[in-house]
Amino acid sequence: MSQPAPHLHQGPTTRGTMLAAAGCLVPAVAWGVLVQGPGALAVLAVAAGASLACELAIGLAAWRRFTLADGSALLTGLLVGLSLPVYVPLFVPAVAAAFAVAVVKASFGGLGRNWMNPALGGRLFVTFSWPALLAVRPRPPAGWLRVPAGLTDGSLLGGSGQLGLVSTLLLALGGAYLLARRIAAWEVPASFAVSFALTVWALGGLPAGEGLFRGDLPAALATGGFALAAFFMATDPVTAPRGRAARLAFGAGCGLLCFLLRVYARRAEAPFLAVPLMNMLVPLLERPAARRGRK
């Protein structure tokens, strides 16, 4: 029997999923480039290029397969580029993207076999390898939009403040499209956002000695990294758990970790640390459902 049933299919293909996610990043990318200028484009281009080149090389050398068509390398590259500041030397996005594709994804077997979000893996590798180069440094943006110097922290996502808010909204818009088309599971960003918002609002004021329910919610939410992580990184189907309860727990855990890392540890890349930590716990989260399945 040559061609198996069913002969009809519904819903996007793998490539459709990846390209749709990449497409939903475009508004935020456009905004970032508008504000930060050609440097932003360079970072994105290098990241995407390195990711594609790496996957091509590994695919041909190790597996003898051309895997670029499934669009996942492109998406990884864009996410890596978007998560980095624009003032880094260009070898940083290249190494980040290469690490993401070669170590986090390919070394474990390629698409569908990695346990950690590849883009975040790459981002974290460069974060800990060259912390000085990535340190937040307010710089006058060189974009086409005349923006006063103090308003941005040099990241493609605009940092906190009004520019970051715009990035967040654009990313949320893209994310909403993914949710509407059921490309991303709604449970993860929803529980991520709710738990993060709740913890920040309720406990965010404590380190500053202001008591409960005094957290600075708008500032925390408006930082572009959160929206990127919640809608595009945590929702990665390969590394997020299956099943409604597991997904809700996953998102909630991400939110809680994100809160702790941002408010107590004062790390700017808190969402990018929270998601991989929760990725590690995914098998644990899926175990109750698996046990129920194994009657």
Partner: protein
């Protein structure tokens, strides 16, 4: 019938205690941050292996079976302690660089030491082989770690030469200089060795 030239590299890497069998991970990962430390640890290990190897031949003949293992452990610990004292006396800074991982070697020597079943010559060869393999693996990992992770190569100071060779180039990646870097490199080295073994087999 394999040729001698192909046999040695195969045994060196294919049966390498560190890379193929992942023995002695704790000290290996810790001291591979500098080439000098790696070579020093490997030298001590070689010394201890040779000593236990030669002595095991006698122990095998003289002691009842139940006592052989504790005797070898005692012997290995004694040799390593002796080496440690030696280092403290002659090169305290280098010895301090190795720290706690030197005594930890004793257990690894126990694992890697030969059982003493054959002749003295065989014991010596086996110990030398294993020690050399360990040294080669550790030194290679240390080289990559230092070059990429710290931008220098640390060797032993001789005369005017301070022992440190600085390299210019991209800023060093701190992850490789720290423990995770060691894990990465060891993992890939191990994977490479296993892949070659599978291809040959």
């Amino acid at each position: 019938m394999k040729s001698r030239s192909g046999e040695f590299p195969r045994r060196l890497w294919g049966e390498n205690p560190l890379v193929a069998y992942l023995v002695g991970l704790c000290p290996a990962l810790a001291v591979s941050n500098r080439v000098a430390n790696a070579l020093l640890l490997a030298a001590v290990m070689l010394f201890a292996l040779l000593g236990t190897g030669i002595a095991s031949v006698a122990l095998e003949r003289l002691l009842p079976p139940r006592l052989r293992l504790p005797a070898r452990l005692l012997l290995a610990s004694a040799l390593v302690s002796a080496a440690q004292r030696f280092l403290w006396a002659l090169a305290p800074t280098l010895g301090a660089g190795l720290g706690i991982y030197l005594p930890l070697l004793a257990v690894n020597c126990l694992l890697l030491g030969s059982a003493g079943a054959g002749s003295v010559a065989e014991g010596v060869l086996e110990a030398a082989g294993r020690g050399a393999a360990f040294a080669a693996a550790l030194a290679s990992i240390a080289l990559v770690r230092e070059v990429l992770g710290a931008g220098r190569i640390t060797l032993f100071p001789v005369g005017h030469f301070s022992g440190v060779v600085s390299l210019r180039g991209l800023p060093p990646a701190r992850v490789l200089a720290a423990a995770p870097g060691a894990f990465f490199l060891l993992a890939y080295a191990s994977a490479l060795v296993r892949r070659r073994k599978r291809r040959v087999a």
